[in-house]
Symmetry: C2
Subunit: 238 residues, 2 copies
Amino acid sequence: MTSEPIGTPRQRAHAQTVLDIKRLAREQLATEGSSGLSLRAIARQLGIVSSAIYRYVPSRDELLTMLIVDAYNSLGDATETAQRRVRRADLEKRWLAIGRAVRGWALEHRAEYALLYGSPVPGYAAPAERTAGPGTRVIQLIIELLVDTAPHGVRPTEPAPPPIPAALKRDMRELRENLDIDVDDELLVRGFLAWSALYGMVSFELFGQYGGSVQHNAAFFDHQLARLGQLIGFPEQN
Amino acid sequence: MTSEPIGTPRQRAHAQTVLDIKRLAREQLATEGSSGLSLRAIARQLGIVSSAIYRYVPSRDELLTMLIVDAYNSLGDATETAQRRVRRADLEKRWLAIGRAVRGWALEHRAEYALLYGSPVPGYAAPAERTAGPGTRVIQLIIELLVDTAPHGVRPTEPAPPPIPAALKRDMRELRENLDIDVDDELLVRGFLAWSALYGMVSFELFGQYGGSVQHNAAFFDHQLARLGQLIGFPEQN
DNA sequence: TGTACATCAGTGAACGCGCGTTCACTGATGTAC
DNA sequence: TGTACATCAGTGAACGCGCGTTCACTGATGTAC
């Protein structure tokens, strides 16, 4: 994280400029949105002629991809770090830590959150082979949480959940096999619901869908997050 | 809906051209995204010189606002219609109808859904006085559903929900007063959670966040929607 | 340690394209008497 | 019913901007012998 392989002065200068370009690009994302991202504007801010940018970045699309991968990793880092601060056995706290980290990161990186979870960028598709890893770090954490929850059994709820249809059971079986995990359908389905609900709440808050009806956003989020945790059903702490 | 006040032939032609412009704009939204919306391109497709578009639409931003208002109303119509097809007293079915209508509309109007619920358009803020009404039609329906649920009481759940913090209670009281409704905090909070979770699921599906892990999207959605309905807790049908 | 050569950052011009918006105008369609 | 006038759709040129990308080039920095 801190000490990269040093390299020659030229290499270091090069790497630094790439970092500057990405920083300026992130700032532009915030003010202009993803489609307003302009290599010429970045060059201008760097005090460099527009064509010189191509010494550092092969194309606009490539820069976008780099920003997306970086953003996913930044979110992943934040969430993993937050989760590492709570006791591994306290499953509910881990869920709360994940949720809060996602919201916290999103509030601090609004434009990047919008890039990852907002409208797709028209005419651009992130190359799956590069985003697949970084883009699934949060759901990985949630799945690990489900894996650790599984041995405690599925906590019964009242009212009892509706039976899982066969088509969905097939999806879950495939997922279980692909990831080589031992989590039963009910728990997986609950996890998926909590996962999408979490992002639904974050998107609503960030994109202003609550209008003025929610003032105490942090309290609101925490409370609803706890409800989602109950919905998954972690074992009691003792 | 069908028979507008007729008007003179000129007025009708004018109105028709405005409709054509909006249709072409919607098509452009789908291929280029909101920031790629171009008056010049629309004029080109209409077989008209670029400046002539200003006979019909005062500016690009104004056209965007019209598209947003139309989209909200289209979604509102679809959802209200769907809900009117189920028995008013069958509260759970009403919830399912609302949810399915939102998803169905979103799938049929992906670009417009992204316009309403995706990343905000940079450098553009929809004028609140024009979107406030149309933009709240779905949540209005959900709130009506909560109002109709309230007399049946709040359905107890196991595990019991966490206590609602004071800050959140204040938000809910204000909401209750503004809307002049009699729905207690617990039910309101549940409704909000189900609402944002609903959109979270729709956004995830549309924006491709599930990756390949969910194949049977309709079945998945229906099932999770039913779980959210349980979470709100409608009275049993008899 | 000094020299020849390779590497690389940055320049400047150009290609070919896009956009929103204004303005003075022509000519057709509608309206009032 | 016919004519004068007003309204409106559409033209074409222009203003002043923006963009990504390529290409031949200069000149500084680094490397190998």
